[in-house]
Structure formats: structure tokens, C-alpha cells
């Protein structure tokens, strides 16, 4: 039966706080809209009709539940069982659609028909443009010029779907600049516009709302592990850009004290400032895009440039709940570099016949570095690699 996993619905944290992180640091113009959004989300997530609409689209349109695949040849390499949660098989090719569908249903309910989004890898923009086509809504996607260049296929798809793709910033501009510009659009058009943020970042209630919508990944994966292996995984591994696929899968295991949670950030070209996207590993607490978390910044509080081979991890911030999971020690975070991600990309392709997104390749690479001989590893394979072929092929020796 096609029954998607259930959402893990929690009450929104008071004032959006996760320990000392989170909050809502935005211009007054949008504060009332954020309060309205929180109230509307609480109401919708408690309404069986809303949930039925959401699960209906997830099953009949997006293709949930996604399979859990026992990666046998990769397991031999890892020296222990590796299971892949196949979000790459979701419609549009990444986990981002879970969030886009949920937020658009919510926007419809709130009577907002103009949708803005930011995108880095283009997967969130693509998911939003797709859901807007499905539901008949106007869609504007902000995207940094550098990302438009390296994710050209996704740009073309978004345009085919009827979205307007707005180039942002100078030729080096990426996800950070696109996010700032999407927020400015929202500040300007807040009365009729809903801002669909693409990860568990931004002002409250977004980190809570996006986590709730992505928790479908974790609740499915946990049930599938129990059904197929009779036990819980020893480690859950996921890539962390803003952190939505990671929180989505972690959410179901937070109470399972024996299950280790491992987030993987972009190590880029190395630990020098500007050469990576390891906000948790190498950043410091600060405020970016409306919430307090770990960010990459200079001592004056100016946000630093970032680099990753993977556009979706090329971001100087991270969701506040991850900052708190690191502070409390419940989750651990590591950074793997461009080369390690590329190696894992090729390995998974050859060993399992699955071409992964470069974001997800970071998670695969981290799984392969865990000590062998342990219990099962559950990897969130957040997306497929079609969008990255040009980047990968461009790197190959001629």
C-alpha cells in the first residue's frame, strides 16, 4: 500500500528557541505575517483534512513512501550494512518537494497566491515551481548567478514549469544572496505573497514548519528499518546545507538514545575562510537571515563567502535546531571536502547504479569513513545527481 510516513507534529518551540539558538530577527513589516503563519500552520497541522490533502499528494503525486534500499555492494566497501533512504526517487529528484507541497497547501489555505522562493542547487526552486504548476499559483524563484550557471538544467526546468527565475547579485552570487533577495521581495509584497523557504533556516516559525514537513522522511525510514532489519540503525547520516533533509530524518530518532546522528557539512577546498560551507564545524554563533545559529562570519559580524562543489551545501548558515543538537551533544557534525564527495559520487554510481546528488554524496562519503564492523548505517540519499553531471564531468581529467 502507498501509505506515506506520518508527520511528526510537535508544538512550535516558544519564541522559536532551540536552546540559545533560533528566534525571529526580521524587519517589522513581516513580523505580523510570521505570527499569522505560525497560527495557520498549527491550525492546519491539527486539521485531518489538511493532513489528508498533504498525504494524498505525497502518495499519489510525489511518490511516497520512498523505498529503503539495502546497498549490498556499498556495504561490503563500508564493512557494515548500509541502507539508503531513497529521497532521490521522489518526484523532481530530491526531498525538497515534501516541504514545497506542504507549504503551498498552507499558502492556499491562507489565501496567498503569489509564491516566492530562493534556491541554491535549484532543487528547492524546482520543487516549488512544480508544486505551483500543480496548484495553479504564481511562482518567482531567486537564484544567485553562479548557481544559475552551474545548475542550468534546473533553471530550464523551472522556466518550463512557468516560474520566473530572477538572477541575483554578481557573477559569484549563491544561495545566501538569493535568500536575502527573496526575503526583500517578501517584505515588499507580504500582503499577497507567501515565502516558501527551502530549508530549516530563517525566522521562526520556518525552522519548525520545514522540519515538521520533512519529518515524513524519518518516520518512514524508521518504520522501514524496523520492518526490514528488525532493528534501529546504529548511525543515521545526512548532508547538511541548511539542514532540512538531516532534521527530517533525525526527527524520528531523537528519542532513540542509542542511535547516533551524524550531519555532514561541505568541507569545500579546505578549512580556510571562504573555501568551505562548514558553519557548524568552523563557524561562530551569530544572526543570519532571521535566526541565531552558527554562521561563517568575520570578527565584525560580516558574513563570509563560502565554497562547495555542491550548490546545496554552499551556504554560510545552518538551521538553529542543528546548532542546538550540536551544543547538547545529541548529534555530531563533520565536514568532508569536494574531492571526498566526488569520490563517493562515483563509487555509489558504480557500486549501486544510483547517481547521487553532490549534496547526498557528502553523506555517502561520511558513511564510508565510519569504523567498519559496526551496526547498520542509515543514509539519507537526499537527491539524484542529474543536475550535477556538468559539474562532475567538468572535473574529470580529459
Amino acid at each position: 500500500m502507498n501509505v506515506p510516513g506520518r508527520l511528526i507534529v510537535t508544538a512550535p518551540p516558544p519564541r522559536g528557541r532551540y536552546g540559545e539558538f533560533g528566534g525571529s530577527f526580521v524587519p517589522e513589516t513581516v513580523v505580523p505575517a510570521l505570527q499569522e503563519l505560525e497560527a495557520a500552520a498549527v491550525e492546519a497541522l491539527g486539521d485531518p483534512r489538511f493532513l489528508a490533502d498533504f498525504y494524498g499528494l505525497e502518495a499519489g503525486y510525489a511518490g511516497r513512501p520512498t523505498p529503503l534500499h539495502h546497498a549490498r555492494r556499498l556495504s561490503v566497501r563500508a564493512g557494515r550494512p548500509v541502507w539508503l533512504k531513497r529521497e532521490d526517487l521522489l518526484h523532481t529528484g530530491a526531498h525538497k518537494l515534501n516541504n514545497a507541497l506542504g507549504q503551498l497547501l498552507l499558502a492556499q489555505r491562507m489565501g496567498k497566491h503569489r509564491i516566492v522562493a530562493e534556491t541554491g542547487a535549484g532543487q528547492h526552486g524546482l520543487a516549488t515551481a512544480t508544486a505551483c504548476a500543480l496548484l495553479g499559483m504564481e511562482c518567482i524563484v531567486y537564484m544567485g548567478r553562479e548557481d544559475m550557471r552551474r545548475q542550468a538544467v534546473n533553471v530550464a526546468k523551472m522556466k518550463l514549469l512557468g516560474a520566473r527565475v530572477e538572477p541575483v547579485g554578481d557573477p559569484a552570487a549563491t544561495l545566501k544572496d538569493a535568500t536575502s533577495e527573496a526575503i526583500r521581495d517578501w517584505v515588499t509584497n507580504v500582503r499577497d505573497t507567501h515565502y516558501v523557504i527551502g530549508s530549516v533556516v530563517g525566522p521562526h516559525p520556518y525552522p519548525w514548519l520545514v522540519r515538521t514537513l520533512q519529518s515524513v522522511i524519518g518516520s518512514e525510514a524508521r518504520a522501514q528499518m524496523l520492518e526490514l532489519t528488525g532493528r534501529l540503525p546504529e548511525v543515521v547520516v545526512a548532508s547538511v546545507g541548511g539542514g532540512s533533509n538531516a532534521i527530517g530524518i533525525f526527527a524520528a530518532f531523537l528519542e532513540d538514545a542509542d542511535v547516533q546522528l551524524l550531519g555532514v557539512e561541505a568541507g569545500g577546498r579546505g578549512p580556510e575562510p571562504g573555501a568551505h560551507g562548514a558553519s557548524l564545524g568552523l563557524g561562530t554563533p551569530g544572526v543570519l537571515h532571521g535566526s541565531r545559529s552558527y554562521i561563517l562570519q568575520d570578527p565584525d559580524g560580516q558574513v563570509l563567502p563560502t565554497h562547495s562543489i555542491s550548490a546545496g551545501l554552499d551556504y554560510p548558515g545552518v538551521g538553529p535546531e542543528h546548532a542546538n543538537l550540536m551544543a547538547t551533544g545529541r548529534a555530531r557534525y563533520v565536514a568532508l571536502d569536494d574531492r571526498q564527495a566526488l569520490d563517493a559520487f562515483h563509487l555509489l554510481t558504480r557500486l549501486e547504479g544510483i547517481i547521487p546528488a553532490l549534496e547526498s554524496s557528502h553523506a555517502v562519503a561520511a558513511a564510508l569513513r565510519l569504523p567498519d564492523g559496526g551496526g547498520p548505517i542509515l543514509v539519507c540519499l537526499s537527491g539524484r545527481g542529474d543536475k550535477d553531471l556538468e559539474t562532475v564531468l567538468g572535473r574529470e581529467p580529459k
Binding site: 513580523v31 505580523p32 545566501k176 536575502s180 500582503r191 537571515h289 565584525d300 559580524g301 558574513v303
Partner: protein
């Protein structure tokens, strides 16, 4: 009320005359050491209260003109410390009008809220305006500002419901900054702000400053009886781009003041 709050009240009297002009300058634009000159020029042109923006890499409330000015200032080495030093320099050279420091939260948070307020007060800043710090999150800065003798301005927008307007007006120890329309700096038509000004006026006796989108003298005049001050940002920043930034800033401010 702090002495700083009193100075702002005195500079923006409710008189039935046209509103006073409050020029905004981006600290460090066009060059880091030139800000003191521009502050003095803005005062000489007739500016009643000066706003000094601390440049930030991610200014969520700013439109293209002020974004570009901030980016250039940062590229030329501007820092929060140099900005405060420039205010101090202008004070030693005789600047008398109140100065409001407009800054995003993160540069202040990294400086340390307490240290920043003390340093700003020592430099001769009278008040702070932090556009990404909503009323719900203001308490800590409020304490630090009041210990340093700094006033705090609050912001309201056309989307702000009456309940929050009252809160914003009571929390302001400086002026209440009224955003003329939903949007970022440099956009909008200030006459759209009239209904917001009327709503706040009914709830508060704090000085009201209208901003976002004011570019011309006729707009300043049209706000007579509604606003006590008008903030002019992008137009002044554009003037500072010229060959002689101080002369152009003085000229534009004088024109806005009808001098």
C-alpha cells in the same frame, strides 16, 4: 527619559510646521575616513537628526542603492569601530545635532551589546535603530542602551496592527520610525504613509519619523502636520557618490529643507 531621548525630542518638535529632515548616511561611503565630513555637511545643509548606517554584508531591509553603498564601504575596509570613530571626530569638530546609529543586529551582537552601547555613547551617538530587531527580541539591547544613556528608536510598518503600534510607541525612548510602505529602503511613495502616521499619532506622543522612498522637497512638505521628521536615505547616498561628496550632500539636504 534619557538625556539622549530629550535631545531627539527637542530636535523634532511637534510644531505644525513642515517635518524636519533627517538625512541618512552610509558610514564609510564613499570612503571610510570621509564620514565625519559628510555628517558635518548634512548638519550644515539643515539636517535636524542624522542617521548613520553601519554597513552590513546582508542588509535585509535595504534596497539596491544602500546595499551597493554598504558593499563598497566594506570593500574599502569600513568597520563598526571606524564608523563610531568618525562620529566622535565629527563631534570634536563641532557637530551638534543628535546622531542615530542604524545598524543590523549581527555587527552589534559580535561587538557585544554592552560594549557597543558604551562605545557608541562615548563616540557621541544619541540613539540606536536596529531594523531586524523586533519588539519581542528587544529587551537585552534595551537594557544595554539604557545603561549607556542611549535612546532606542522602534520601527512600525503599515502591516503593524494597533496592539503592536502601542507597544512600539511605549518602548521607544527615541523616535518611532514609521515605514511608509511595505518594502525596502529607496522604494515607495511616502504619501502612502499618511494613514500609518495618523494611526500612530492617535496612540503616542513620541516624535514620528517617516522613511522609505522620500526623495523630494514636495514630499517633505506634503507630510506637514503628519510627521515630525522625514528620513531621507537613498537620495543622500546617491549625492555622496559625486566628485565632491560633502558639497553635494550639503546641497541636497538644503534643497530638501527648502533653504
Amino acid at each position: 527619559m534619557s538625556a539622549a531621548g530629550d535631545a531627539i525630542l527637542a530636535a523634532l518638535p511637534r510644531s505644525g510646521e513642515e517635518p524636519r529632515v533627517c538625512p541618512y548616511l552610509m558610514a564609510g561611503f564613499p570612503d571610510p575616513e570621509g564620514t565625519a565630513d559628510l555628517l558635518l555637511a548634512a548638519e550644515a545643509g539643515g539636517g535636524a537628526v542624522l542617521e548613520v548606517g553601519i554597513p552590513h554584508s546582508d542588509p535585509l531591509a535595504d534596497g539596491p542603492t544602500i546595499q551597493a553603498a554598504g558593499r563598497l564601504a566594506l570593500a574599502r575596509g569600513m568597520t563598526t569601530r571606524i564608523a563610531l570613530a568618525q562620529v566622535a571626530k565629527a563631534r570634536t569638530r563641532g557637530l551638534r545635532v543628535p546622531v542615530v546609529c542604524m545598524t543590523y543586529l549581527n555587527p552589534v551582537a559580535q561587538f557585544g551589546l554592552e560594549d557597543f552601547c558604551q562605545a557608541a555613547a562615548a563616540a557621541g551617538v544619541d540613539a540606536l535603530l536596529v531594523p531586524d530587531l523586533p519588539l519581542e527580541e528587544m529587551e537585552e539591547l534595551e537594557g544595554a542602551a539604557s545603561r549607556a544613556g542611549l535612546a532606542l528608536c522602534t520601527m512600525v510598518a503599515p502591516t503593524t496592527p494597533d496592539r503592536r503600534l502601542t507597544l512600539a510607541a511605549t518602548r521607544a525612548t527615541g523616535f518611532v520610525y514609521c515605514v511608509s510602505r511595505t518594502g525596502v529602503t529607496g522604494t515607495g511613495d511616502p504619501t502612502e504613509g499618511a494613514s500609518l502616521l495618523e494611526r500612530v499619532r492617535a496612540l503616542s506622543d513620541r516624535p514620528l519619523v517617516l522613511g522609505f522612498g522620500v526623495r523630494r522637497r514636495s514630499q517633505v512638505v506634503s507630510l506637514t502636520g503628519l510627521a515630525d521628521g522625514v528620513a531621507v536615505g537613498s537620495r543622500i547616498v546617491e549625492a555622496a557618490r559625486g566628485d565632491d561628496p560633502a558639497a553635494s550632500v550639503r546641497e541636497v539636504v538644503a534643497e530638501l529643507c527648502g533653504r
